[in-house]
Subunit: 363 residues, 4 copies
Amino acid sequence: MKNTFGNSIAVTIFGESHGQAIGAVIDGICPGIEINDEFISSQLTKRRPSGPTDTKRREKDEYKILSGVFEGKATGTPIAIIIPNEDTRSGDYKRGIPRPSHADYTASVKYHGYEDYRGGGHFSGRVTAALVAVGGILIPALNKLGIKIGTHILECAGVRDKAFENIEKEIEKINSISFPTISDQAKMLDEIERARLDSDSVGGILESAIIGMPAGVGEPWFDSVESIISHALFSIGAVKGVEFGRGFELARMRGSQANDPIAYENGKIITKTNNNGGINGGITNSMPIIVKCAIKPTPSIALEQESVDLEKMENTKLEIKGRHDPAIVRRACVVVDSVLAICVSDMLAQRYGTDVFLKGFDK
Amino acid sequence: MKNTFGNSIAVTIFGESHGQAIGAVIDGICPGIEINDEFISSQLTKRRPSGPTDTKRREKDEYKILSGVFEGKATGTPIAIIIPNEDTRSGDYKRGIPRPSHADYTASVKYHGYEDYRGGGHFSGRVTAALVAVGGILIPALNKLGIKIGTHILECAGVRDKAFENIEKEIEKINSISFPTISDQAKMLDEIERARLDSDSVGGILESAIIGMPAGVGEPWFDSVESIISHALFSIGAVKGVEFGRGFELARMRGSQANDPIAYENGKIITKTNNNGGINGGITNSMPIIVKCAIKPTPSIALEQESVDLEKMENTKLEIKGRHDPAIVRRACVVVDSVLAICVSDMLAQRYGTDVFLKGFDK
Amino acid sequence: MKNTFGNSIAVTIFGESHGQAIGAVIDGICPGIEINDEFISSQLTKRRPSGPTDTKRREKDEYKILSGVFEGKATGTPIAIIIPNEDTRSGDYKRGIPRPSHADYTASVKYHGYEDYRGGGHFSGRVTAALVAVGGILIPALNKLGIKIGTHILECAGVRDKAFENIEKEIEKINSISFPTISDQAKMLDEIERARLDSDSVGGILESAIIGMPAGVGEPWFDSVESIISHALFSIGAVKGVEFGRGFELARMRGSQANDPIAYENGKIITKTNNNGGINGGITNSMPIIVKCAIKPTPSIALEQESVDLEKMENTKLEIKGRHDPAIVRRACVVVDSVLAICVSDMLAQRYGTDVFLKGFDK
Amino acid sequence: MKNTFGNSIAVTIFGESHGQAIGAVIDGICPGIEINDEFISSQLTKRRPSGPTDTKRREKDEYKILSGVFEGKATGTPIAIIIPNEDTRSGDYKRGIPRPSHADYTASVKYHGYEDYRGGGHFSGRVTAALVAVGGILIPALNKLGIKIGTHILECAGVRDKAFENIEKEIEKINSISFPTISDQAKMLDEIERARLDSDSVGGILESAIIGMPAGVGEPWFDSVESIISHALFSIGAVKGVEFGRGFELARMRGSQANDPIAYENGKIITKTNNNGGINGGITNSMPIIVKCAIKPTPSIALEQESVDLEKMENTKLEIKGRHDPAIVRRACVVVDSVLAICVSDMLAQRYGTDVFLKGFDK
């Protein structure tokens, strides 16, 4: 469904980097969910470029809710949120010479030259602000159900953070700081800065955890939890790999190492290890859902690159001006959290009904 | 949509390991597609356990087409294919003690104990035979449009195959042999055998290529080519990681290395490298689509494992009898090809209309 | 989604009049639903041609359940049901001269001549047997939730039955007889017989009621209860009109007559009249859902008709041989009941979750 | 999908009567479609209350396009349109006493009291302005493909207009006047005025025609043209009946009268009559699509009515203040046209691909 995602709870996104506004419509939301403006703003702030690792473009991201909220709570009918664009400098962009590893060329073929090419148009990372606003509504509601989500930069520019271990506490920590890593990351910041000074960029790996999910959510086959979450994560332009639990490492393990022993402890069925990332046969097993995604280096770099002048149809060199991020890993964390919140909310609503946020579920 | 996948072309699957039959319904197929029984059979043979790396269960996989085919061609209305189950030994399974890293426990929660637990029921890898039958119909039709698909075992049991390089030729090779690797893999087979002798199992990494796709197919955001393909691949129970192009390696590269230079060569726009795996901004760029998936080791192993007796609610030991594969990587290749064929066919039909297989498309 | 209908509970149908089998896949069904073979058979018997008002084609309609049922109950995974075709006389059909008001011509354009033209192929009313089998599974489960469905022939061949009045009792009656009318209908049968003797056919109006639905089910706008039910009913080839409550009569009323006064009676909110057929703003109000559909006369008649020879592209006369129904209203009632059961089951599962048939709902 | 409709082209609507704004997102639109602001405005003007038959609420309906349009043309990415609400008088509404035949009661059950009850909230007819804006974009694009749509008031307040006969010319006429009837309707206006003076309201029947559709569009069974169009039309709150061609009249005809003779004339396959309204077996046959819908009388009337005080749970009387339409048939015509434009555009895009508006189709 193109720009709409989800079944019981569906999110539709729209907007371009240099258009009037970006935004989202959330449909199927449980009535009564409280809209916490402060939280939404703080989530948008996390995504907003602000520090040395980010683009110099500065947007206030003042969102407006146009519908679906009444007396501070979700009514149950569609919530439309818009975030006007303000700090746009379209002059930095010109049509006709596609930026390598951007969508410029593919968009020009798909849309036959009618696309809004300024700043990547609809393909711009700016559209993720709409996802973050949606997450800003859903995350507090999930928290009330006992479900918590957190994402940290597991690796960037060759520097590695600790993996999740004491998840609940670590989620709390990474959600409260602006550069979300579990251990101190001065070195990571240094390496990003070095890339910036080289007019270059770096990528990274994000690790996310979702805790508090009941067992039995998801579907076999086409709507496996992995299918749904990967579908949503790969919507983010920079994501080029997604793995659950030990992911690609499992390919190098034997079954006897990879299998998670099942145990009955403290009145609960658990697994002693969590190599499968909380999902068996596409369905949650109540262990933490662990998912990692590979973020490619920001393709907009100031170094000269090779491209083609599509009007003259000849090879040419390209220097990208504009304002860009040497690393988007920091800003991507809250986007990933938001995307995961959308997936999880929808899966809960499908299993437990549209009122799940009002009624809760039996664990 | 649970057991249905696709928009313009939609596939619905059903069946259990030890039920009457497994099968699939393909809807939205272009009329006039020739049904090549020999090819369908040969694809099912590839998936069927046969050699030393596979389970000892032997099914003839004699499929029946119940509808949607007339005078040897697709009519355009739904094709229902069924594959009866024959060699079932349900006595090998017992309810109540979930096998680690299988869906047994999650299914029992989701379905409240009503699930068919024999041989994993609907979660069994046997259901992939239905996907292979669907692929057996779509792949020749894609070939006629100039689109070719191939999957090889890039890594298994610590042994690595060559990566794709001369893709068209390599696709031809791996599609013509029963253990699909590009270079000789006696060592890989030895290692699998060693795992089998240890009553253990191994996983691996599959690398797939799709060539001949026109540029401009796919969607930004939620229906990106990566979203659709990963959604479908993660439907396969054993897949725990998916990456496109250089995938997780991109996380360790700089933008200047990762970006694919664009060039005009021989009357075509190409990229000089293909680190993005043929997809930019979710849309094809006409370069080969490269996707890798991590296959976890077969969870059914003969070694004793820890689990819980769900009736007594106490910890116990479990020895899995039954007949199982020490490695499913070989058999998984044709499943992945089939899944990719479904994705690609649907994306083409959405862009070019339901008659694309009759009318073709402008490259 | 073409041959798939429903969200939480989705039904996919397949098959042709003269193919191997027709069938359906039901996905998303609540685990634990009992499969009542006797009831399914008796529903198929109601649809099966048997008496003087029906075609002479005689099918045993012996269905087989291939998957999704274990120990007599739904497992929660897809149920595939097939009904083999047996009494087929393809010689009665020839390609090239489309029967008026049938799908022959439109199918030949849509499917470019690849369609299975024998007996209307996939467009044949025979495919409704698959819907009836699905209804045969869902209706007893709905009954357990206190929801009852019934359809009678409100009008046929100029003869009118009584409208619903004492609905619960009338549903019981019409569901227990083979020619479902509320009052005695000797005259209606005579008129149908007269049409048959004239080698002609007649249509009619069916009136259906669904009682026991809780208030609050459905959606505003695009997924209104009316939208969903009409979508499903217009799937049936012969249906050319659908109205809810007083329907087209409302167009001739004033608001003061048409509005249903709301009242609090015996601890319940009710409406004193039910001109809106149990639905306000697309959402159930707990009053009976009343829906009527117009059934056009069977287009297959033995009288000579005008058509075109599509091969020679010239006007010609056509006499339809084959075996046809002078009136399908009797057989259509159980089809409509089944379609309504699918709609209602899906709406309940969307609102109350996939386990609604196990857990029930608060009225 | 609740507030989203369509597959290849999907429309999502949002907003409440007394909220900030109503609006719509159109996704999947063919790039290059010209945005004709004058036409969009003139369509909104048609829907806007203006004359004696309409509510006294006066909105400017100044829409803003937030995304998806660049240099006056659709880019192919989502178009978001919003229409701010201005002339709202929320004081006229109070929670707790549901208006008969409105969605007030059903909404309060569905949304557990969290709904925005002012002016019917999301259920308000005001939301149809968003549909009209969408139609304002699609209709000129359809016209360029040779497809024309028109709707007139076939009947209102007991007064009947002529039915379509010379369709192309009549579409032109009714689309150019503010009270769309084919013949002069002074009497109809008088009767509406009489209802208004009685503090009452009237309903009516609308007849729509779509000409220029190629044969072969649509699907058998669940996505029949009738299914799709009725689904969309029943989204409109006031619609309680939908029929195609001769609709309910067919129930009273014999097959020999009802069947449309097929003929080859002037190089085209046509039918001599069009009792089936341009659709056979769910698929277009190139004849005009004729659809009628029953509009119930506006439920908001000034006369005293019976209802229940939901807080005290006791029967009470209700007098609706506010500003209401004695007849909405006039304003509903352009809404129906818009809804039909959405359906037809989506069906064309599904069959011929997303670029159909750029590339056209073979008739």
